[in-house]
């Protein structure tokens, strides 16, 4: 059949275009990093998308402080600071000779501009509430800034080291969404939306001598199977937030790769609408806590790769107390508790956002509640629906969500308008004490009290801490294994050689 063979010849020709040409070669001062979430803009002060922080914060953009891997606040654009006796006035000394990537000089005016922008009436900063305690920001001289607070804020310095409090320059602030300009160790080079984003080393950075990488390329791959193939084909050097725990064993078995299982600040909870019957009844909430079996959920939903939590605080934190045994799993007891509360056999909705940890956990929780006599109807909804209907309009019975912000126990003090529907003056007082306690040890003691209180109140079902699953080529070194924040500094990362 001549026609067929001609067709085959053409196909073979087309294929052979690829022959003999190797795939992108990796050299030691370059790295290609896979990310699951594709950003829509590049300005962390106007968009909460986590991958913006993941790529750019502390790499392109810098803030006054930086949070280290162990959670410690360290100097950054501010080389040091003094705190007044009353804990209300912070005097920051700024780094000298720093320039933005567009060549403009960094000084106290930029700090003033950035803070005023974040605090302004028309500010769209996703964490505007963090700036609420700031009273005044004053430039004493070009390298000194004084910030006064209206009340003590134990998390102030920590908050100053986040993506939403980066220092931007007046000349480039408006265009950061598409062409980010900062003071960081890497400069933004190019962004092909939906495909890749490229950073190059900033030779003028004050720590440039300690930066190993010359070029950083981020590739956006949302599909877990495609991410696996890209790693296996060595198109990527690292996938620091790997989306599928079930696919990790093949990397663990492969000597080319190293798998890292770390921790994040993400507490995964089975949230219950405390403002709505039957969850306004503490006995029902305690019954739910008794009905769920965390180990089964972690095995089934996370393939065993997560640490259970019994309250709302990360297990790697200094103030952690293990409360996972507060309500031992007991289906019969849970059934009795539901019966006593008069809700046995009722139907409840479990509206779940489209994240694998949530959808998989939901199925297991549904089965566990069903064993205890509660008919939970799982509704898988997409993110836009979830954040509007569940989060904003509080139109739900139960949901599953990870709270990924650090120091977020204050969520329980956000009053009846927050989607928890939890309004408890006793906890509000406690949180106010935590927030204004300057002494770290005293604050940790209060945080322990907070954990015990929330566990006792069984505000939600506390499930597990979201793990940080990463796959790296063995040559890649210096990546954080756990993250106390949402960014990932590349300053100390190298790719062999």
């Amino acid at each position: 059949m001549p026609d067929l063979s001609r067709t085959l010849t053409i196909t073979t020709l087309a294929l052979s275009l690829g022959l003999g040409l190797s795939t992108a070669s990796a050299s030691a001062d370059q790295i290609v990093i896979g990310l699951q979430q594709e950003p829509t803009s590049l300005d962390p002060t106007a968009d909460a998308t986590a991958s913006i922080n993941g790529m750019l914060t502390m790499n392109v953009y810098e803030a006054l402080t930086i949070v280290a891997e162990n959670g410690e606040v360290q100097p950054n654009l501010a080389t040091g600071w003094e705190v007044s006796e009353d804990g209300l006035t912070y005097t920051f000394t700024l780094a000298e000779g720093v320039t933005f990537h567009d060549g403009s000089t960094f000084d106290s005016e930029d700090v003033l501009f950035s803070f005023n922008r974040a605090m302004a009436e028309d500010s769209v900063n996703p964490s505007k509430a963090k700036f609420a305690t700031i009273d005044t920001v004053t430039a004493i001289d070009p390298l000194t800034v004084e910030i006064t607070l209206s009340k003590q804020d134990a998390f102030f310095l920590f908050n100053m080291g986040q993506g939403d409090s980066i220092i931007v320059s007046e000349g480039s602030a408006e265009t950061n969404a598409t062409a980010p300009v900062g003071t960081g160790p890497f400069k933004f080079e190019r962004w092909t939306r939906g495909d890749r984003l490229i950073l190059v080393k900033n030779p003028d950075h004050r720590e440039a001598d300690n930066v190993a990488l010359e070029r950083v390329e981020f590739r956006f791959i949302s599909d877990p199977a495609a991410a696996t193939a890209a790693m296996m084909a060595e198109e990527l050097d690292a996938f620091p937030g790997f989306p599928a725990p079930e696919l990790l064993p093949q990397f663990e078995a492969d000597p080319r790769f190293r798998v890292n299982i770390g921790s994040t600040e993400g507490e995964v909870i089975l949230a219950m609408n405390n403002a709505k019957a039957p969850f306004d009844n503490i006995d029902v909430r305690r019954a739910v806590a008794t009905a769920i079996d965390r180990d089964e959920i972690i095995d089934g939903a996370m393939y065993g790769q997560a640490t259970p939590i019994g309250s709302f605080y990360p297990p790697h934190g200094t103030a952690y107390v293990d409360l996972t045994d507060a309500y031992p799993h007991d289906t019969d007891k849970a059934r009795e508790m539901f019966a006593e509360a008069g809700v046995e056999g009722t139907t409840m909705t479990l509206r779940v956002p489209p994240f694998p940890y949530a959808t998989r956990s939901a199925e297991i929780i549904q089965a566990q509640l069903s064993d205890a006599g509660i008919d939970a109807r799982v509704e898988n909804v997409e993110w836009g629906f979830w954040i509007d209907e569940v989060y904003s309009k509080k139109n739900y019975d139960m949901t599953i969500i990870a709270h990924t912000s650090p120091n977020d126990m204050g969520n329980f003090a956000r009053g009846p308008d927050y989607f928890y529907g939890y309004d408890d003056p006793a906890f509000n007082d406690l949180w106010e004490r935590i927030r204004t306690e300057a002494d770290p040890e005293a604050r940790d003691e209060l945080l322990r009290e907070g954990q015990r209180y929330l566990s006792d109140q069984a505000v939600h079902g506390f499930l597990f801490q979201l793990p940080l699953l990463g796959v790296f080529r063995t040559e890649v070194e210096g990546y954080w294994s756990s993250s106390p924040v949402v960014y990932m500094p590349l300053k100390g990362v190298s790719n062999g050689g």
Partner: protein, 314 residues
């Protein structure tokens, strides 16, 4: 013919208008708030209000719709809510990728399908025919994403001949072609399986007719008869399917774009719907509608070119 074109143009405009109303209504009825999806769970009420103001979401629905249509008519599709750049720029950036893939897919589909289909018809009830029928059955049955994964495993992971995905644009043509080879094959296999079967049965239909026997009897070679007389006369059903396939190629590359992480329109519309990015969704749906309607229009025109007898009916 003039009346025909006029009628189709009016139909084109009415279709697009209807689509615009439906998309606008659906996107506004759908629960979801663009400001909330952008600023996330820690956003304060006043920051959300400021962003809504910035995005123009506080205007009444009708005003927003009328403004949108008015600006669109002047070629201004607005600013994307989530990307903060003009929607037209976003689409142009990605159109090249999707169109490159769709055109490459179509070309390979046509070559494979016409060759195999005609070949099978020529070998009717012989081994070649059965082989093509079996392969095409397989091609129809295999899901595109699964085939894609197999291709990636073989050619990217094991053999390392081709990249497993991504597309960096046409600035490096060699890299661009290499990136497109696997997705093109994945697209073309399924499409050509359908088209090969249509081609085969259409060709068999024509081969039974008298003029084919006459042509053979007059001494023309078998091959010449097949390509010069059978294929042109079998073109009407083939063109119908090709028209439908082209529309579905452009709009339906979303699965392929996901598996090969290609920055195309399919992924853009998916992301925009999740982000409640109304201006982008609206513009993309209009574009897809325009492509489908245009493809149908071109098919109708081609009928007349292929078979002049249809001119009277047009």
């Amino acid at each position: 013919m003039g009346y025909f074109i006029f009628r189709r143009t009016v139909g084109f405009i009415l279709t697009l208008l209807a689509v615009s109303v439906v998309v606008f209504a659906v996107m506004n009825v759908l629960p979801g708030d663009p400001a909330l999806t952008i600023l996330g769970m820690d956003a304060t009420e006043d920051a959300l209000a400021a962003l809504r103001e910035q995005l123009g979401l506080n205007e009444p629905l009708l005003t927003r719709y009328v403004n949108w249509v008015w600006n669109a008519l002047q070629g201004d599709f607005g600013i994307s809510h989530s990307f903060r750049v003009p929607v037209a720029d976003l689409i142009v950036e990605r159109l090249l990728m999707t169109v490159s893939l769709a055109v490459a897919g179509m070309v390979v589909t046509l070559i494979l399908a016409l060759g195999l289909g005609i070949g099978a018809a020529a070998q009717h009830r012989k081994f070649g025919d059965w082989g093509v029928m079996f392969l095409s059955q397989l091609g129809i049955a295999v899901p595109a994403f699964w085939l894609s994964m197999l291709l990636v495993l073989l050619f990217a992971v094991n053999l390392r001949w081709l990249p497993p995905g991504g597309f960096a644009g046409w600035s490096d043509p060699m890299a661009a072609i290499r990136s497109l080879i696997l997705p093109t094959i994945a697209l073309a296999v399924v499409q050509s399986a359908v088209l090969a079967r249509v081609t085969r049965s259409a060709a068999l239909e024509v081969m039974r007719q008298d003029f084919v026997r006459t042509a053979r009897a007059s001494g023309l070679s078998r091959r010449r008869v097949l390509w010069r007389h059978v294929l042109p006369n079998a073109m009407v059903p083939i063109v119908t399917i090709v028209g439908m396939q082209f529309a579905s190629l452009v709009t339906g590359t979303i699965v392929i774009e996901n598996v090969f992480y290609l920055p195309g329109l399919g992924r853009l519309i998916f992301q925009s719907i999740s982000n409640r990015d109304l201006p982008t969704v609206q513009a993309l749906v209009m574009l897809f509608a325009a492509i489908v309607v245009t493809a149908n229009f071109v098919v109708d025109l081609l009928y007349v070119v292929i078979d002049p007898r249809l001119k009277a009916r047009a």
